[in-house]
């Protein structure tokens, strides 16, 4: 029961992270696979993505726009985005 509930919650979470992540695709490519010129983020390690997104948000990683976008998300939302993109095929 608990397992089923947890998995149902994970599924629901995935659907929400998926549509949030789709926003990123406007620059980084569908499902994070870039058509060129902007980094692909599909299939990168979750820890690396998480670290970068949080560093953009905190302003410790210089950027042209990512520091401005990252500030629009809670840390938890950024973690779910990192997880989502880490699960996409490269």
């Amino acid at each position: 029961m608990a397992l089923a509930a947890a998995s149902a919650a994970a599924q629901a979470a995935d659907d929400q992270a998926r549509v949030w992540a789709a926003s990123c695709a406007a620059c980084h490519g569908t499902q994070g696979r870039s058509a060129g010129g902007i980094p692909s983020i599909a299939g990168l390690e979750q820890a690396l993505l998480r670290e970068k997104l949080l560093a953009f948000k905190q302003g410790t990683l210089p950027a042209t726009v990512m520091h401005q976008h990252a500030k629009g998300y809670t840390d938890q939302e950024l973690e779910r985005l990192a997880l989502f993109f880490s699960q996409q095929a490269r």
Partner: protein, 424 residues
């Protein structure tokens, strides 16, 4: 609206639907539902692709009147001379072949929401379970005395929908003698692409500076001030194009004399070698026909969790046609993001899943101040249940510190990526 559609056209359309097998690869034998999308621009094409990507069990029919998509973003570069219209053009083949979207080259001319049917110009009727309308903008020429006729409109161009008009305006600029004046009239906000007119002033100045150094760009703005990226554009004009660009706020248009290329403003008359009038805009025509317009007889109110019309159930509206949420620009980027929220919600509504209660959308608008250097404005928009709308997240978003070439490279890459995200 109540249109009587006969059984034969309905059957013809149903027969057409079996033609799906032709594109067939990804479409299941028995789709669980059919979504019809009107308009294959940034909103509609993205919605069509993402529904098929996320829910291949749903059939998607995209109605588009043009043979190929031509991007408005980057089209000012055609005027400046650093891009060709072909560079901005993408076909619909991949959307059909790779994603199994059924493309219908026709124009939607009517919607019967009670019967859930769309009527096409050639007479066919398409049934839908949910309808997505992404019609872009319609120019309100009835608000521009002197530009009502097709002849006048062919002479005084808008070039505010990329395509033949963009190329024609470039030719007019090429034909302008050195020392001539290019005058651009900007309508009161809201209009499609808030920074677009000021980027256009930069691009025309960029062209003049190289080829017609004595020519002049005159920006006649109906607004009281520069609508977007003010400091960045003023700096670009002062540093890069000194003496070339003149900006006049509060220039409300009274009438146009297309025969003499003369603009009558409230307090002034301006005659120009090339006159470029961006007309005031409203939601695309089918939105009006379908009863989707809810505000100021211009824009379509939507529920921002689903993009479903607040006027007509079962119909979702995307892009420039919507009554924008606070701080939300009418941009291709926004339309692309809205399309994904709508695609997810439409799938949820058709399959009995809960609709995502908190959409998050983002926007980055790049503007070219030369052939290489770019400025941006960015924002993040989150659904606020109390306000029942999308609101900009405080502290997020912002502007470029100054025009720079790194963002010029990103801007061109962004364009390639978003075109691919909608069509490839």
């Amino acid at each position: 609206m109540t249109t009587q559609w006969n059984r034969r056209t309905l059957l013809a359309a149903a027969g057409g639907a079996t033609g799906l097998a032709l594109f067939g690869c990804a479409t299941p034998a028995k789709p669980v539902a059919r979504v019809v999308v009107i308009g294959g621009g940034f909103g509609g094409a993205t919605a069509a692709k993402y529904i098929r990507l996320w829910a291949p069990e749903i059939e998607v029919v995209l109605v588009e009147r043009e043979a190929a998509f031509v991007s408005c973003p980057l089209s000012n570069l055609v005027l400046g001379g650093s891009a060709r219209i072909e560079d901005l053009t993408t076909g619909y083949d991949t959307l059909q072949k790779k994603f199994g979207v059924r493309l219908v080259h026709d124009e939607a001319v009517g919607v019967d929401a009670a019967r859930r049917e769309v009527r096409l110009a050639r007479g066919d009727v398409l049934r839908y379970d949910r309808l997505i309308v992404s019609p872009g903008v319609h120019f309100q020429y009835d608000q521009v005395p002197g530009l009502e006729s097709a002849e006048a409109q062919a002479r005084v161009l808008h070039a505010w929908k990329a395509g033949p008009q963009t190329v024609a305006l470039r030719k007019q600029l090429e034909a302008l003698p050195d020392g001539g004046v290019y005058a651009l009239h900007i309508p009161k906000a809201p209009y499609r692409c808030p920074p677009g007119p000021y980027e256009r002033a930069c691009q025309v100045a960029f062209y003049f500076k190289q080829h017609k150094p004595r020519a002049k760009v005159l920006v006649l703005d109906a607004n009281p001030d520069i609508v977007s990226k003010k400091g960045l554009f003023l700096k670009a004009w002062a540093d890069r194009y000194p003496g070339l660009v003149e900006y006049r706020p509060n220039s409300e248009l009274v009438s146009v004399d297309a025969a003499t290329n003369t603009l009558e403003l409230q307090f002034d008359k301006v005659r120009a070698g090339v006159l470029n009038v961006v007309p005031p805009q409203q939601a695309g025509k089918i939105a009006q026909t379908a009863g989707l317009i809810t505000t100021n007889k211009r824009w379509c109110g939507v529920d921002w969790r689903t993009l479903e019309s607040v006027a007509v159930p079962g119909v979702h509206v995307l892009g420039d046609a919507t009554l924008s949420a606070p701080g939300m620009p009418k941009s291709g980027f926004m339309a692309n993001n809205q399309a994904k929220v709508a695609a997810d919600a439409v799938i949820a509504l058709l399959t009995g899943r809960t609709v995502n209660p908190e959409p998050i959308l983002a926007n980055t608008c790049y503007s070219f101040v030369s052939d290489t250097d770019v400025v941006h404005v960015a924002s993040v928009h989150k659904f606020d249940a109390k306000e029942n709308t999308l609101v900009t997240v405080p502290g997020a978003g912002g502007l470029s510190p100054e025009a720079n070439a790194a963002e010029g490279i990103y801007a061109r890459a962004w364009a390639r990526n978003i075109w691919a995200d909608m069509l490839l």
